[in-house]
Point group: C2
Amino acid sequence: MSMDVTFLGTGSAYPSPSRGASAVVLRREGECWLFDCGEGTQTQFMKSPLKAGRITKIFISHLHGDHLFGLPGLLCTVSLQTCPTANKQPIEIYGPVGLQDFIWRSLEITRSQLAFPYVVHELVPTPNQCPAEEFKDFSAKGDNIGSKEVQGRTIHLDPVEESYILIESEQIIVKAFQLFHRIPSFGFVVEESAHPGKLNVQRLKEFGIQPGPVCGKLKNGESIVLENGVTVSPSDVLEDPVPGRKVCILGDCSGTVGDGGMRLCLEADLLIHEATLDDTQTEKAKEYGHSTPKMAAEFAKLCSVKKLVLTHFSQRYKPSNLTEEGDDDVTDMKRQAQAVLDWQELVLAEDFMTIEIPMKKPKKKSVKI
Amino acid sequence: MSMDVTFLGTGSAYPSPSRGASAVVLRREGECWLFDCGEGTQTQFMKSPLKAGRITKIFISHLHGDHLFGLPGLLCTVSLQTCPTANKQPIEIYGPVGLQDFIWRSLEITRSQLAFPYVVHELVPTPNQCPAEEFKDFSAKGDNIGSKEVQGRTIHLDPVEESYILIESEQIIVKAFQLFHRIPSFGFVVEESAHPGKLNVQRLKEFGIQPGPVCGKLKNGESIVLENGVTVSPSDVLEDPVPGRKVCILGDCSGTVGDGGMRLCLEADLLIHEATLDDTQTEKAKEYGHSTPKMAAEFAKLCSVKKLVLTHFSQRYKPSNLTEEGDDDVTDMKRQAQAVLDWQELVLAEDFMTIEIPMKKPKKKSVKI
């Protein structure tokens, strides 16, 4: 089962021809989830092999324009490509309180009638996610709702887990956690459930089980009773389960709030973290609520993640292949992060880069003594 | 005195890699005026030799997203490049009622503090500018105003002239007129005053006038009295005045409302008109409030303009240099417009195309008999 992330925008503050504004796509099981949607994301989709029409969920980490201004246009363009009678499932949009009203107003002023339904679920931030003078409560919005809009949920912080539960299904759990930035920002963690192990043909033979519906039952975790009265439980015939994968995508931040983020990101297969400025500008980075390669790498190390991807670079850092004499490039940033990391893999994102997250190896069951 | 227009986006409905969303820049006297600002306009600026930081005025023809969604991001990016203590003049923004509130809300939700002042002047449309069911009155907005915002004017239609007066100075007049579209849309006419003729050195000599302040007075239209008591009027020593240039930039439309547009565009040096679909799709074009090459050419001919530029092509019409086997290209559209025109020049716009509007020849004064 393939799973990958594609970077459609790796620049901070604004889109440029060399680095689009923030946008990351996670693909899994034919679904396409978009994380942040800076201006120009729809054009970046067109330049990539990905299809914006496949998007089923959108996550907005925070309400700064370079993560948000592409969203109304993207929805309108996807709508133009959608058959109005297609009976499409609602596109689910998650983001901070204020997002629903922004989308509604942008569609309303432009008289945009979407051809598909959508729903906005809003995360309620807390004032400790940003400097006190920057916190603004956007919850006092009107009750305006679009003609194609389905009422969404208001999602509060679970103060014990220090996280927000966005999606909980048998296959996948998506949670958010709190980041500290100039305005409240969130990180998202997508975690698969363990994939059941394969049926072991040899063991099936030993029990005398022929291929058929009973195999499906065993695979789905049900025990069966054979004609000879013997009970076969799934663990008798299934190989070791394959642990699910975990991908963490963080919004802009100079750090996390509480320990929720650290716990959720623990042993992630992939951690996508911002590194707006290099380590020589740590004070400035922190002042603007941003991170440096060292800060990102320290969090990755703390969480024992397998692979760290840095992104959201200041537009001054040109991608390596576009660097001209005198330009800042990202080589120094790579060195700065690497100096902190142990065995973790490190990647510096560029627009249109795709990173696969391979299936894990089956986890050995503990041996009963 | 140079004057030119540059097309930063020539596609309709949404931006694509081959045609950006609507945006035209008029440059004159070091000033840079932007007409419409679809998503991605700021990136198109970066790809062109033009500088978004030079923009002094912005005109939005109508409130559809492909003409508007790039505006908040463009303002934010220009702000990042602006020194907060630069004491910059306000950027003046003109567009339909509802524009001020959209800009305010987009900046507010993203907590964007602009480094320069701006002012939004709103044109009040009338219900006959669109199908009755599409007309929506956006005037009942709140009184929200940004921290860097200067209160703008509300500009009503002059029912006699059938136009809106936006700017009236000694050098230039800008007016708007009403177009018919799916939602109210406007056309803009920029007209220079006549440039005074040059001082004729031979005639100055005949009067015994030496170079100095008196020459400036004559050039500025003042008469002077020589020491010998002779009165010299400007017309005695100035060459023929040079007529001003006229550029007309129309928003989306399937036609004009009333005769204001025709009168204002009469004998324009340049008329920029949309041609979303080709003549074989006239019914569909009209249904969506759009024009075809024939419709645009007929208006250009009616107004006896010198040069017609077609733009705002459906994304199905690829620019000539990007056409692949089986693609629609714009060649047919050129032929369709040409079939209507007489002596008028015809140009089909492409992204990053610049068209100069040369100074005119001096107009011969009428000879007194």
